[in-house]
């Protein structure tokens, strides 16, 4: 009959085997996820002959920087990639700042103040969370044409600034800020605004990072809206819009498209690298409703 020692040993062995197997599975999954990106990187340095050549090679035999130089210096078929990078960055940054400001303010009002019609207003906001973009796509275009915003950076920034989900998220977070802090600020003579700036705002760095990053990503990766609203003013076309156009034009000399795509995803990946701990931690919070 197996004694305690053997039982323990068997148990530990099983645990180790389990750990190894799981580790292998995890490694395999990671490899699968990363593989397409790894495969893509050398492709940016391949000439048009090599990129669709059979059989494929991982490393380019004729290494070339031409694709990058072409993307960065020339005005390919009317669109300038560098310009699109710049304007997408500009639009995204402005949008994040505006969006955080507007949404946090609204969340603060809902979280800390009482006012007539509060419940109705809250429902008004929440309902908009359930309106998918497709439903209002055609009619929003009509609205922005009416407002003469088309072909400017504002049509890219303004419509997406308010997000009921973000307001919800911030409100949840603000509920967690102790009343005593507000009290102390009020005693110091702070107004409502003051309380917001001195108490709530400084404490919100975690949700601000998460919401800020996701908002930035939303703007950086946007494609449908820019494609429909930035038509004649090709200078301010957004980066994903330009990549799609490059994809249509340079599908044979695909290295150009790959080079552009690499540069376009470099910035989001960079942001991920900088804020990675907070972002991953934030996913856990966002699940708690």
């Amino acid at each position: 009959m197996p004694d305690m020692e053997t039982k323990k040993k068997n148990f530990t062995k099983r645990k180790i085997v389990k750990k190894i197997v799981f580790g292998l599975i995890a490694a395999l999954v990671c490899a699968l996820i990363v593989f397409p990106i790894i495969w893509m990187i050398p492709a940016a340095f391949k000439t048009r002959r090599e990129i669709w050549q059979l059989p494929n090679t991982f490393w380019p035999n004729n290494f070339t920087w031409d694709n990058f130089s072409k993307v960065l210096t020339s005005s390919l078929n009317g669109y300038n990639f560098l310009s699109s990078l710049g304007y997408t960055l500009l639009v995204s940054v402005i949008a994040v700042v505006l969006s955080l400001f507007v949404n946090m303010l609204a969340a603060y009002a809902f979280a800390t103040m009482e006012f007539r019609g509060k419940k109705a207003l809250w429902w008004y906001f929440i309902i908009t969370m359930f309106i998918p973009g497709i439903t209002i796509l055609l009619t929003s275009i009509k609205v922005v044409y009416f407002l003469h915003m088309v072909d400017t950076i504002w049509v890219l920034i303004i419509p997406g600034v308010v997000s009921a989900y973000n307001i919800f998220f911030f409100r949840q977070f603000f509920y967690g800020i102790p009343v005593s802090l507000e009290e102390a600020a009020t005693i110091d003579g702070c107004s409502r605004w003051g309380i917001f700036w001195r108490v709530f705002f400084p404490m919100s760095s975690t949700p601000m990072v998460i919401i800020g990053v996701t908002t930035f990503m939303g703007y950086w990766n946007s494609f449908v809206w820019p494609s429909l609203t930035i038509v004649n003013n090709t200078k301010i076309a957004q980066v994903m819009q330009v990549i799609r156009i490059l994809n249509s034009n340079y599908s044979s000399n695909y290295g150009i498209v790959i080079a552009a795509t690499l540069m376009a995803i470099a910035i989001p990946i960079l942001i991920f690298a900088i804020f990675q701990k907070k972002i991953i931690a934030g996913i856990a919070i966002s699940g708690l409703k």
């Binding site: 048009r48 002959r49 669709w52 050549q53 059979l54 210096t73 020339s74 005005s75 078929n77 009317g78 669109y79 300038n80 560098l82 310009s83 990078l85 710049g86 304007y87 997408t88 960055l89 500009l90 940054v93 402005i94 700042v97 044409y145 088309v150 072909d151 400084p202 760095s205 494609s227 038509v231 004649n232 090709t234 200078k235 301010i236 156009i245 249509s248 034009n249 599908s251 044979s252 000399n253 695909y254």
Partner: protein, 458 residues
Amino acid sequence: MDHKRTLKTLALVALASIGMASCQTDSEDEYVEPGATVITMYAQSFEDWSNSHLIEMRKKFNSIEDDGIQLDIKLFEDSVYSDALTSARENNAAPDIFMISYGNIYHDLIVPGYGEPLNDLMGEAAIDDILPNVLDMVSYNGQVYAYPQLVEPSTLFFYRKSMFATAGVTSAPSTWSDLLSACSKVLPTLRKGQYCLGLPIGTALGWATYGMQINTTGGLAVNDKWDQCLVDSQGYRDLNGFFYDVYAGGYCPAGNVSPKGYTDIIEGLCEDKLAMTLAGSWSIAEIVNDYPDVLDDIGIAMIPTADGDATKCSATNGGWTYAISSSGSNKAKAATVLKWFLSDDTERTADFFKAACYSKAAVTKSVQAYLSANVTDEYKDMLAIVNEVSSLAEAEPKYLWGISTAVGAMFETMAVKCDSSKGDSFRTSTVNNAISTAVQTINSLISASDYQTNPYLS
């Protein structure tokens, strides 16, 4: 404080983005004439050589001082071009000049009235210079609405001489039976990933086969008046049979070997993935520009047809023209620009065709004569074949696109349903079934209440 640093970073980022955004590219060394009227031109973006040529011409035009005109060209990629035009028109900012293809002139220019009649603006000499068959394509009710730049036949036959030699094929096939026998000789010499014959696939089957349809059946899917479906004919049965045979033999790839499909199918040929292919004449420029090392190994001929008759139409003429917006305010100046580009100076206009490596055919008598007289030896054969085929070619039809899609779907059914293991009766029944489906679709389109018959005949 942490926030100050964040704000500083944000400000830096914003500055960097503005810096990136204000990158100027190719208009730096251009002469800007003070006080000149700005004429805007919307053009579609094509191959790099075509775009650079256009930009070059623009710089040359703008360097002309004291003519009171500053030309601004905006290039748009294919899928966004019509959006850009529509949006510009909606905002009362229609471009003074815009590019338009022959096939779209009636529906997108004449019907909505966007184009100004050009007979007076361009002058009699320029109008008379247009070749007769091209004149038909740009006129309506006696007025020219768009000044043509080029025509390009949509189907030529290209093949790799070395791959033919390896397979023991001695000459370019001129009939379908020659083609099938050449394919059967080439097939065993190929590896996986290589195919004998390239054909249009998918949507391209709708427009790239017009030439074959005219050649085999003497007409198209509907009659001249567009009110009767002609697909149920022996000619179409034969054409369907052709598709059946090539696919049953396994000679054609299942998908597009070139990323853009038929428009750049020549890449498949240049990259050793196809031994022979149908392709438009524009492919010649692509070979010269992007695959010059295989240029000598490529042969060009008229497409193989049912009977091999070299005097029949085997392609349709596609191409591009320039029109002047009827809502523009500087039509006379716009006409000056157009004349400078396309009719004043024969050599200047012919320059385009040289840049195009003679892959396109001229549309004016003067340019045509100039090219024939001045072509360099290496391009003599190309010029000859492109001219020959385009002179026999007919205009692309303007009937409802849904009709062409139905015909294309019919050919596609052949590709999908063919089966080399089944006999002739299966082949016949498949052909007939596909034809009756197509006839049904086309008839339902014709009988729709808002269907328009040929306006050119009324």
